[in-house]
C-alpha cells in the first residue's frame, strides 16, 4: 500500500495542479461572471472599459423581486410583478410535482423489484423506454389534450401533471437500484411480526433508501424547476414559471442585461445550493443510473 501512495506522490507534478486550476476556472468561470454581472448596473456591463472594479449594487435584484420588498426601491418607477409571481409558481409547481413523483415512484419501484406479478417485465421495460422521450415530442399532444380534454390548460395542476409523468420513469429507474440493496430478511422479519405490505414499505423500506430518495428528489426538482418548453406551452399569464418569464424577456435587441442576469441567478440558486449541500447524493444518483446499466 505504501508503495502505491509513494508512487502517486512522485508523479504529482506542478503541471497537474495547473491543470486542476484551469478546469475549476473553466467550469465555474461563466457562473461567477454571471454572478458578478448581476450586481452591476447596465452602464458597467456595457461600458467598454469594464473590468473587475465596479460598485456592486442590489438594484437588479430589487427590480426582479420588487413585489416582496417591504420598501419601495428608489430607482423603480413602477413595480413589475411578473417575476415575483413566476417565482411563486415555480416553487409551488416544482415542490408539489417532486413530492408526488417521489411517492408514486418509490411505490412503483418497490413493486417492480420485490414482487413477481404479471406484466412486471412490461412495466419495467416501459419505464425504460419512456425515459428517452424528449419533452419536445410531448409538446403537440400535450397542447391538444390539456386544452381540449382535461381542461387543465393554463393551470398549475396541468403543468404538475406533465412533470410528474415525465419524471416518473427516471425516478423508478434510480430507486430500483437502491431498493434491490435492502436486505430482504429485514422485510421478512417485519412481516413475521405481523406488519402488512404497506407498513413494511413505509416503516422498513423507506427509511433504508433515504439516500436514494434524496438523489431522486434532487433530480426531479431540478427538471421541474428548470423546464421551459412544456411550461411555456401550458401556462397562461398567471401560471408562468421563471424560465418562461426569462425567455420572454430576452428580445432580439436591447436586452436589459443586469436584470436578466439577476433573474437567471435567482433561477440558478436552488440547484447550486443542492449541489453544494448534496453533491454526494447527486453523484450517487448519476452513477446508479448508468454504472449499474
Amino acid at each position: 500500500m505504501s508503495r502505491i501512495s509513494q508512487h502517486d506522490e512522485t508523479r504529482t507534478n506542478p503541471a497537474f495542479y495547473v491543470l486542476l486550476i484551469c478546469l475549476v476556472v473553466m467550469s465555474a468561470g461563466p457562473i461567477v461572471l454571471m454572478l458578478a454581472n448581476s450586481f452591476k448596473l447596465n452602464v458597467d456591463i456595457t461600458s467598454p472599459t469594464a473590468g473587475l472594479l465596479f460598485m456592486p449594487t442590489l438594484q437588479n435584484y430589487e427590480t426582479a423581486l420588487c413585489e416582496f420588498l417591504w420598501y419601495e426601491p428608489e430607482h423603480l418607477r413602477r413595480c413589475d410583478p411578473t417575476f415575483g409571481r413566476a417565482l411563486v409558481n415555480s416553487l409551488i409547481i416544482s415542490l408539489v410535482s417532486t413530492a408526488l413523483t417521489l411517492v408514486l415512484g418509490c411505490m412503483a419501484a418497490y413493486s417492480i423489484v420485490r414482487f413477481r406479478f404479471m406484466g412486471r417485465d412490461a412495466a419495467s421495460f416501459t419505464t425504460l423506454i419512456m425515459r428517452m422521450v424528449p419533452p419536445a415530442v410531448l409538446l403537440v399532444p400535450v397542447f391538444g389534450i390539456w386544452n381540449e380534454q382535461f381542461g387543465l390548460d393554463g393551470t398549475r395542476s396541468g403543468i404538475i401533471l406533465v412533470y410528474v409523468a415525465m419524471n416518473l420513469p427516471f425516478v423508478i429507474w434510480i430507486l430500483q437500484s437502491f431498493i434491490v440493496q435492502v436486505p430482504i430478511q429485514l422485510e421478512e422479519a417485519a412481516r413475521i411480526d405481523g406488519a402488512g405490505p404497506f407498513r413494511v414499505f413505509f416503516l422498513v423500506v423507506l427509511p433504508l433508501i433515504k439516500p436514494g430518495l434524496a438523489a431522486a428528489a434532487i433530480f426531479t426538482f431540478r427538471v421541474a424547476w428548470n423546464e421551459f418548453l412544456l411550461a411555456n406551452a401550458l401556462s397562461d399569464r398567471n401560471s408562468r414559471t421563471v424560465p418562461v418569464t426569462i425567455v420572454n424577456s430576452i428580445t432580439e435587441y436591447n436586452i436589459d442585461w443586469g436584470v436578466i442576469m439577476a433573474t437567471g441567478m435567482l433561477l440558478a440558486i436552488p440547484p447550486i445550493l443542492f449541489t453544494f449541500f448534496a453533491s454526494r447524493q447527486i453523484i450517487t444518483g448519476m452513477t446508479a443510473g448508468a454504472v449499474k446499466g
Partner: protein, 312 residues
C-alpha cells in the same frame, strides 16, 4: 421467499398510481401524437375539425430540404458533442484518478454546470459571445484582434453551440468514468503493475477494456440526451442564423408555435422518436449481450473452479 402468502393484488396496488399517471400523461399523449401526425391541424381548430390527410405530413417532410438540413444538423451536433465529451471526460477521469485531498470539492464544482437551468446556461453563453458586451470579443479586441461573430455566422454559431454543450455536459462523462475507474478490481491493476506495465499500457490494455461496458452505456445515455437539447440553443441562437443550429427538437417547437402546423410537428416528433427508439434498442441489446457474456464467463469460471477442486 415468504412473498407468495401476500395478497395477490398488493403489487398492482403499489404500481397502480404511477402507472395511471404515466398512461394518462405520457402514453396517451404519445398515441394522440401519432394520430395527430395524420392531420392537417392548426392550433385554432379543435382536433375533431382537422382534416385527415393520411401520410401527407410525412411525405412532405421527407421531401423537404429544410427538414433534412435540420436532421443533419441534429446528427452532426449529437455526434460531435458526444465524441468530444467522451474523449475529454474519459481523459480527465484517467488523469485525475488518484487519492487527492479536495477531490470532493472539485467534483462539486464540476457538476455545477449541468445542475443549472439550460435557460440560464444559454443566457450566460449568449452574454459571453455577444459582439459588443461579451467577454470573448472584449479579450480579442484587447489583444488587437477583430470581433468574431460567434453567434452571427453560421459556422461560428454551430461551433459556439457545440462549445456551450461541451462545457455543460463533459462533467457528466467525467463523473461516470471516474466512478467506473474507482470500482475496477484492484487485483488486476496490481498484477499489471507487478508485471511492470507502464502507465500508458495500464490504461490501454486494462483500464479502458474493463471500463468499456460503463463507457458504452454512458455514451448512449449522453447521446439520447443530446437529442433532447433545446433550451440552450433556443436562448443562444433560436436556430439561426439560417438553419445552421436548428436541431430537430427546436424545429418541432417552432413548427408548432411559430408556424402553427401541429400535424407536421407531430410527424416530425415521430421521426425523432423513431430515431431515439433505434438508439435505445441498440443500448438495450448491448446490455443484454454483455450480461449474457458475463454470465457465460462466470459459468466457465465456476466450472473451472469446480474442476480444480475435484483435481485436488
Amino acid at each position: 421467499m415468504n412473498i407468495q402468502s401476500i395478497n395477490r393484488l398488493t403489487p398492482y396496488m403499489f404500481l397502480a398510481p404511477a402507472a395511471a399517471v404515466m398512461v394518462i400523461a405520457l402514453l396517451y399523449p404519445i398515441g394522440y401524437m401519432v394520430y395527430a401526425s395524420f392531420l392537417d391541424w392548426n392550433p385554432s381548430q379543435r382536433i375533431g375539425e382537422a382534416d385527415f390527410i393520411g401520410l401527407r405530413n410525412y411525405v412532405n417532410l421527407w421531401n423537404s430540404d429544410s427538414f433534412w438540413e435540420s436532421f443533419w444538423v441534429t446528427i452532426r451536433f449529437a455526434g460531435l458533442v458526444v465524441s468530444i465529451e467522451m474523449v475529454i471526460g474519459v481523459g480527465l477521469a484517467l488523469l485525475l484518478d488518484r487519492q487527492l485531498r479536495g477531490m470532493a470539492a472539485l467534483r462539486t464544482i464540476f457538476i455545477l454546470p449541468m445542475m443549472i437551468a439550460p435557460i440560464v446556461v444559454g443566457l450566460m453563453w449568449r452574454y459571453m459571445y455577444h459582439p459588443q458586451v461579451g467577454v470573448f470579443n472584449r479579450w480579442l479586441n484587447d489583444l488587437g484582434f477583430g470581433t468574431i461573430p460567434f453567434l452571427g455566422d453560421s459556422t461560428w454559431a454551430f461551433a459556439s453551440v457545440v462549445i456551450a454543450d461541451i462545457w455543460q455536459w463533459t462533467p457528466f462523462i467525467f463523473i461516470l468514468a471516474l466512478a467506473a475507474l474507482q470500482s475496477l478490481p484492484q487485483s488486476a491493476l496490481e498484477a499489471a503493475r507487478v508485471d511492470g506495465a507502464t502507465g500508458w499500457q495500464q490504461i490501454v490494455y486494462i483500464k479502458l477494456p474493463l471500463m468499456m461496458p460503463v463507457l458504452i452505456v454512458t455514451c448512449l445515455l449522453r447521446l439520447i440526451d443530446a437529442f433532447k437539447v433545446l433550451e440552450v440553443i433556443l436562448v443562444m441562437t433560436n436556430g439561426g442564423p439560417g438553419l445552421s443550429t436548428e436541431i430537430l427538437a427546436l424545429r418541432i417547437s417552432r413548427t408548432a408555435s411559430e408556424f402553427r402546423q401541429l400535424g407536421e410537428a407531430a410527424a416530425m416528433s415521430n421521426y425523432l422518436l423513431i430515431l431515439l427508439m433505434l438508439i435505445t434498442a441498440i443500448m438495450f441489446v448491448y446490455t443484454k449481450l454483455s450480461e449474457a457474456r458475463a454470465a457465460r464467463l462466470r459459468a466457465i469460471a465456476a466450472k473451472a473452479a469446480q474442476a480444480e477442486e475435484e483435481a485436488v
